[in-house]
C-alpha cells in the first residue's frame, strides 16, 4: 500500500544542517502493523510526519496505493489526509474545549459527514472503545489511558486506511499502555494498516514487523514471528 523510495529530509538552522532522513526505502503492505524503532534523533518521528503529510521531504517518492503524494499541494494534502489517515499522539492532543464526543466528532465534520450519520458513527466507536459513560466529559477530567482511548477513537472514526501512531503509550503507565496496544491490535485485525513509532520493544512486540532506524537509515528489518504465528 505504501511505497517510499529514497526519501531525504534535512533540517537547517543558521549554524547546522541535520540530516533526519537519508535515503529511506520502505514498503508497507495493506493490513500490516509496522513498528519503527531507534534511538532519539534517528529520524523516526520525521518519517512518521512525512508519511502523515505533516511535513515535506527534500526529495524522494511516496506512493500511497499508486498515488504520488509528494507532488500534491497543501489543499490536496489536507484532503488526502483527512480521507485516508488517522493520528494517535504521545500527548493525546485532544482539544481541551471540546467534550469527548465532540473531539471524536471533529474529523467527521471536516469530512462533511451529515449530522445524523456522525452521531451514529461516534456512538458506535465510543461503545467499541468502552468510554460511553465519558462522552460528555472534557479531556482534563479523564485519566491518561482514557484520553488516549479517546484519541484512538478520534483517529478511527473516519475509518482510515492508515493509522499513524507516535509513541502512543509514552505518557501512560504499563497497564493503560497495554490497553491501548491491544486496542491497536484489534484494529489491525479488522484490516487497518498501522505504522507506529515507539521506544518500547514491549510495544513493538505487538506488531508484525519491526524496522530499526539510525541516523536516517533503515539499519535492520525484522519480521515479528511470534505475532505472526499468533495470527495464524
Amino acid at each position: 500500500m505504501i511505497k517510499i523510495e529514497n526519501l531525504e529530509k534535512v533540517y537547517k538552522t543558521e549554524e547546522v544542517e541535520t540530516t533526519a532522513l537519508n535515503g529511506i526505502n520502505l514498503h508497507v503492505a495493506a493490513g500490516e502493523f509496522v513498528s519503527i524503532m531507534g534511538p532519539s534523533g534517528c529520524g523516526k518521528s520525521t518519517l512518521l510526519n512525512v508519511m502523515g503529510l505533516l511535513d515535506k521531504p527534500e526529495s524522494g517518492s511516496y506512493k500511497f496505493i499508486d498515488t504520488e503524494l509528494l507532488t500534491l499541494n497543501d489543499r490536496e494534502r489536507s484532503n488526502f489526509r483527512k480521507k485516508n489517515m488517522g493520528f494517535v499522539f504521545q500527548n493525546f492532543n485532544l482539544i481541551d474545549e471540546l467534550t469527548v464526543f465532540e473531539n471524536i466528532e471533529l474529523p467527521l465534520i471536516y469530512n462533511k459527514i451529515p449530522a445524523a450519520e456522525r452521531k451514529q458513527l461516534v456512538n458506535e466507536i465510543i461503545e467499541r472503545m468502552n468510554i460511553v459513560n465519558r462522552s460528555g466529559h472534557f479531556p482534563q477530567q479523564l485519566s491518561g489511558g482514557q484520553q488516549q482511548r479517546v484519541a484512538v477513537a478520534r483517529a478511527l472514526v473516519t475509518k482510515p486506511k492508515l493509522v499513524l501512531a507516535d509513541e502512543p503509550t509514552g505518557n501512560l503507565d504499563s497497564s493503560h499502555g497495554n490497553e491501548v496496544m491491544e486496542l491497536l491490535c484489534e484494529l489491525n485485525e479488522t484490516g487497518t494498516t498501522i505504522v507506529m513509532v515507539t521506544h518500547s520493544s514491549h510495544d513493538a512486540s505487538f506488531s508484525n514487523r519491526i524496522i530499526n532506524l539510525k541516523d536516517g537509515h533503515v539499519i535492520s528489518e525484522k519480521i515479528n514471528k511470534s505475532r505472526n504465528e499468533e495470527l495464524i
Partner: protein, 790 residues
Amino acid sequence: MFKLNLKIALRNLWKNKTSSFINVIGLAIGLAACLMLLLYVTYEWNFDKQGKESANVFTTMTNIFGDNGKTAVTFEGSTTAFGPAIKQGLPKLKYVARMDYGGKNLIANGQNAFKCKSKFAEPDILKMYDYQFIQGNPNTALNSPNSVIVTESTAKLLFGTTDVLNKIVRFKDQFDLNITGVIKDQPDNSSNKFDYLMPWSLYETVDESAKDLNWSNYSFITLIMLKNGANLDLVNQKIAQIEKKNNTDNQQSQVLFPLAKLHLYGQFDDGKSVGGAIEQIYLFVGLAFGILLIACINFMNMATAKSEKRAKEVGIKKTIGANRSSLIIQFLTESMMLTFIAVVFSIALLELFLPTFNNLLSIKLDISYFNSSSWFGILGIVIVTGLIAGSYPAFYLSSFNPIQTLKRKIKSKGFFSVSLRQVLVVGQFCFAIILIISTLVIYKQIQYIKNRPVGFDVNALVEMPQDGELKTKYDLLRSELLKSGAVTSMFQSSVSLSHHGRNFSGIAWEGMLKATNNQLFNRVITTYDFIKTNGIKLTDGRDFSENFASDTSAVMVSASAVKIFGYKNPVGKTITIFGDKFNIIGVFDDYVWDSPYKSNNPMVVFFDQKQTGNITMRLNESNSLQSNIETISRITKALNPAYPLEINFLNNVYAEKYNAEKTLGILSNLFGGLAIFVSCLGLFGLVTYSAEQRTKEFGVRKVLGASLFNLMQLLSLSFMKMIVVSMIIAIPLSYFLMNKWLIKFEFHTEISWWIMPLAGFGTLMMALITVSFQAYKTAKANPVDALKYE
C-alpha cells in the same frame, strides 16, 4: 461546524475569564464611549436639519464693515424691509418669513400664567419647517392677527390636554389669542424653538418698530427658502443689487447663509465662515474613534498573546483535516461574536449612563437621535471592529505549521508579533498621555478664566426681568423694597449686567480724526444707582443722581471708551451720538459683560427712565438670604400679580458664561479617564498573560534564589519601557497641540512646566500599579506550583 466553533469560542471565553473580561468589557466601554460621543455629535450635526427641505432654508446675516473695507462683525439679523424687497426681486425665492429673536413671555389660560418661549413669524415659516400638526390647519393657522399655534407640551401645560383648538389664551396680559393649531414638540437641536408661535401681524402691534419698513434696524430674523438648485453665490449677488437700490447707507450688507450650518460654522472672519463649534465636533469624533481603537488594540493584543495556547488547537485541527480558510473563518467568527457581545453590553451601558451624561452637559440626548442610517453605521463599526480585532490573530494563527505547534515549538516571541504589540501599546499610552495633558491644560484654562476678575462682586446681586406692571410701577417697587430692608440699592436697565452686545458705531468725539467711527460701542440704558448697586469701580466723576436734572443728557463711559476718545480729563467733555450731544459725568472700569474669553467692547451708559428691561438689586447682607428673597417675592408679586416670579442670582448667570468650555472640560475629563482605564485594562491583560506564560521560568528562578523584587522587576520592566517611550512621543506632541488651542483665546493661561511630569508620572504610576498587582501575584506563588504547571 459553525456550532462547534461557537462552542469552542464560548468555552474558551469561559475558561480564560480574565482575558475575556478585559476583551468584552474593555471593548464594551470603548464602544459605549464611542457611541455616546457619536450620539452627541449626531445631535450637534443635525441641528436645524429636521425639515425635509432644510438644505434650502437660509437665514439672513448682516455684515458690518469696519476699517479698510473689511467686515468687522457678522451676525444673524436683518431689517424689516429686507424680506418684502427680495420677495419682489428674487425669482429663485420660494418662501420668506420674518421673525423676531423670540423671548420668554407671559401666556395665561385664564387662571394660571406661565413664562414660555414665544416667537412671532410670518405664515411662510410653516412651509419651511415641517411642523407636525396634531390639530388645526397649517395653511390658515397664522392668517388672523389674533391666532396662536402652541406646541403639544405648552397645550398640556396650559390646559392639560392637546384638545385645545379655538380656546383662548392671554398673551403678556394684554392680548387675547385664539389657538388655531397644536403641533408636536420640536427637537432640542433646533435654533428656532418656541413654545408658542404667533403671527407677524400681531408683532406689528406688540412692537411698533416691526411695523416700520426700514433698512437701519437690524433686530429681526429673515428666513428664506430658495427653490431647488439655486446657486447661493448668484442669489447673494442679486441680493446685493437689490440692497444697493434700497439702502443708501453702505455701512452694512445682508447675505444669506445656510440655516443648518449656522450652529456649527457660526464663527465669521471678514464676513466668511471660518468654523466654530465644528472644531469641537471633529475633536469628539477623534476622541470617539481613539477610545474605540484603544479597545480594539487590547483585543488584538490579547488574541495574539494567547496564540501559543491556541496554536495547539490549530495544530490538531490541521492534522485532522481543517484547512486554513476554515480556521480563518473560525477566528473571525470568534472575534465577531465577542464584538457582538460587547455591543450588547455597550448599548446597555449607554442607556444606563445617558441620564448622568445628560445631567452633566445639561442636554437631553436620547438614543432615538440615532436614525436608521446611524444604526447601519453602528453595525458597520461592529463589523469593522470585529474584522480589525480578529484579523491579525486569524491570519497569524491559521498560518502555523501543524507539527511545530504540536511540538510546542511556536513561541509567540517572533520578532514581528512582539514588536507590533509593543507599537500598539505605545500608541495606546501616547493617546492616554495626550488626553491627560489636554485635560489638565483645559482645566487650568477654565480656572484661569474663572479667576479673572469680572470687575465687580457678583455674589450679593440678584436680578429679575422687568415685566408687566413692573415697567410702570418701578418707582413704587423701588421705594417699597428699600423700605423693607431686603434690598440696599437697585436700578433698572435696558439689559442685564451680563448681556450680548447692543452695538452701535454712530458716535463722534471731540477731536476725532476720522470722518466716521468704525469702532463698535456697547450701549446700556439705565437710571439712578447703577454704580452704587453693582459695585463696579468708578475711577472718575459720579453716578447718575436725582440731584442733577441735567443727567438726562449725561453718559457714563468705560475706561476703554475713554482710551479711544483720547480724553485726558474725560469728565465734562462731550460725545455726539446719532446727532445728540451727551456730557460725560463718570468713568468706570471695564467689567466682563459678554464673553469672559476676550476683551469686551467699550461701553457707554445712558440715562432714560422709559427704557425698561431688567431690574438688578443688591441684597441686604445683614438679613438671611431666604428672608430677603421672600420679601422681594412678596412685594413684587403684589405689584405684578399677572407674572410668575423670576429671580436670578448673578453668580449663576455668570457661571453660565463658562458653559461651552465646561462641556469641553467634562468631556475630555470623562473620556480621557475612560481611555486611560481601557489602556490600563489592556496592560493588565498583557501582564497577566505574560506572567502566566512565564510561570515555569519564575518557578525555576525562584528555586535558584531570585527574590520577589527581582521577579517583579523582571515582569514590569519591559512594560515600563514602553510607557517611557510613549511619554517621549506624547509630551512634545501634546505641548504643541495645547499651545495651539490656547492661542485661540485672547486671555489664556500658560502651560506650566509641572503639567508634563505630572501627566507622565501619573501614567507611569497607574501602569506600575496595574503591572505590579499581577507581577506580585505571580512572583509570590509557590515555586513548586509553578514547576508542576505544564
